[in-house]
């Protein structure tokens, strides 16, 4: 049997297992919008832990991390800073979302923000921004799936077919089983991807070079020392810390998860322990990336970008070259798990935000069954749109995810204003809206200025990422306008901040 048949068949077996799980979840589904979109707010620690980490870590975590360690070196270990903030957010943001969501029945980020700022326009704006910046993130997962299948099958299954088939399968199980199917499959995928990447990292580090990772580092210290130091501006490093932590946590597919927790203790322990998973999945990624770089230097491996067209192919290329086919299949199924577990949550969140924040606002009396049907239509739209964009491969995965995170990072000042009492200072409605609009426009302008090939100081001044520049301007605008305009009503402050004070400090 040809080697690609073995590895691709194992990936197929994995996909069948995911399909079976989602069918079981479908049978448990109640015809109830809160169950379809929020699993009736009953997610316990184990399930929520794995669904949060599996959702946060996408094809980006598996493919791009290995590829960036390979291409840019130690810079990617900045991931430690953004993943620990992401983990802590389960408590510092998630607990507050949960308190308010449970008390007032919020299902989306817009529900919370539009209520606090008393503005339907703000709710609409937040929904549109979330949907707009979610699409590029879904595109990334589709691209990842295409790369995995294409490299695993040694080009027999082209990128386009693999990308469309796996994206369609993911959309289908999400469409049928709702968030329950997403959670159940995430548990399975969260375990598989972590184990698979560790196995891949250890296997490659100690198989390709007999001296293991110590030999890899000693080769690179002589032949490619730039990979062993941080070789990007420190301002860019700081930018990524914010973009990939708060920026990603504020995306709807993660925000919604905090609403679904069973109790506050679940969120507290998620805050304390998810950094461990989120952070230490990148240790084996470093083993893969650095081993690949040393293997290329020593002529054991062809240059990856020249051969496969992108650094994102580093992991599959290394496995196909050095691991037995059955092992490659198991490990690349783990990489597929990472992409699919995020993609399903993103399809679901895209559908939830547009159904709840736009369709239901236009048709407030629509029954639950109609909302579920509309939600399924939006999942289909998300699939078509993202698969179409993925055909064009609009850049490397790292840059696309940074763009998506930079967009939603612009919601942070308004969100903090709503959920963090700050003494006498209040973020006002006009300030929140203006800050979000200005921040988002700057993100889009800097992104496209960069793509036009204009000088870097225009879109990356002093080395800062455009999203960070937008965020800093957003903060200043929000603060100044808040001082000049009418604050939220005392009733709203009472409704939000008094409840948070009682729940967090007095119970």
């Amino acid at each position: 049997m040809e080697t690609w048949v073995t590895s691709t068949s194992i990936i197929l077996v994995y996909i069948v297992l995911v399909g079976v799980l989602s069918v079981v979840a479908f049978r448990k589904l109640r015809v109830n919008i809160e169950d379809y979109f929020l699993v009736s707010r009953l997610a316990g620690f184990f399930v929520l832990y794995l669904t949060i980490v599996a959702t946060y870590h996408s094809s980006y975590a598996i493919l791009t991390s290995c590829g960036t360690f390979y291409g840019t070196g130690v810079f990617f270990w900045d991931a430690g800073t953004w993943t620990f903030i992401t983990g802590l957010c389960s408590y510092i943001l998630g607990y507050r979302f949960w308190i308010l969501g449970k008390k007032y029945g919020y299902m989306t980020p817009s529900d919370l923000l539009s209520d606090f700022y008393d503005s339907r326009f703000l709710g609409f704006l937040v929904a549109v921004i979330m949907a707009v910046f979610l699409i590029p993130y879904i595109v990334v997962q589709a691209m990842g799936l295409g790369y995995i299948i294409s490299v695993a099958s040694e080009g027999v299954i082209p990128y386009t077919y693999g990308m469309i088939a796996l994206s369609l399968f993911t959309a289908a199980y999400c469409l049928v089983g709702g968030l329950r199917a997403v959670y159940w499959t995430d548990v399975f995928q969260g375990i598989w991807m972590f184990v698979a990447l560790w196995m891949a990292g250890l296997f490659l580090a100690f198989t390709v070079f007999k001296g293991g990772i110590a030999e890899v580092f000693s080769i690179l210290a002589v032949e490619k020392p730039a990979l062993l130091t941080v070789n990007v501006p420190y301002t860019y490093w700081l930018s990524m810390t914010f973009v990939f932590s708060f920026g990603i946590v504020l995306q709807p597919h993660l925000w919604v998860r905090y609403y679904t927790a069973r109790d506050p203790k679940t969120l507290k322990w998620l805050g304390a322990t998810t950094p461990l998973y989120l952070m230490f999945i990148y240790v084996p990624a470093a083993l893969v990336g650095f081993t690949a770089a040393a293997a290329v230097v020593k002529g054991l491996m062809p240059e990856i970008v020249k051969t496969y067209g992108t650094v994102d192919a580093t992991l599959p290329a290394m496995l196909v070259k050095f691991a037995p086919p059955w092992f490659t299949g198991i490990l690349l199924a783990g990489a597929s798990a990472a992409a699919m577990s995020t993609m399903d949550s993103q399809y679901h969140a895209f559908s939830l935000v547009l159904t709840r924040d736009i369709y239901q606002k236009i048709n407030p009396k629509a029954p639950d069954i109609a909302l579920i049907r509309v939600g399924r239509v939006f999942i289909a739209i998300a699939f078509i749109l993202s698969a179409w964009l993925a055909l064009y491969r609009p850049g490397i995965i790292f840059d696309i995810v940074a763009f998506a995170g930079a967009g939603t990072l612009q919601l942070l000042p308004a969100t903090i204003g709503a959920i963090y009492p700050t003494g006498r200072f209040r973020v006002t409605r006009i300030a929140a809206i203006t800050g979000i609009i200005i921040g988002s426009i700057i993100v889009i302008i800097t992104e496209f200025t960069g793509r036009l090939g204009l000088p870097a100081w225009l879109y990356r001044p002093y080395g800062f990422h455009g999203g960070m520049i937008a965020f800093l301007i957003n903060i200043v605008v929000t603060l100044i306008i808040s001082l000049l305009t009418k604050p939220p009503s005392p009733e709203k402050i009472e409704k939000f901040h008094k409840l948070l004070e009682e729940e967090i400090y007095k119970k």
Binding site: F84, A214, G271, A272, A286, L500
Partner: protein, 74 residues
């Protein structure tokens, strides 16, 4: 409601843990990062910067667990 701010800790334990996490964060950002950004000395086979970053990330992870045990409610 002119309540207290939620942005600052209200207990000594909370303040200590906030400082712990802030110090760990400072250690992995500029300007300390520019000092630590070097290959040698190798520690345990790892370049110095890789070891430095990993060490502080472990410190942060420990800090998060201690904070959950003694500071965060419920």
């Amino acid at each position: 409601m002119q309540g207290k701010t939620h942005l600052l800790p209200r207990t000594l334990k909370g303040l200590v843990m906030l400082l712990w996490i802030l110090i760990c964060f400072i250690m992995v950002e500029w300007p300390i990062l520019s000092w630590a950004n070097r290959i040698e000395p190798f520690i345990g086979g790892f370049p110095f910067i890789y070891f430095w970053l990993t060490f502080w990330y472990v410190m942060i992870a420990i800090g998060a667990i201690v904070t959950a045990l003694f500071v965060w409610r419920p």
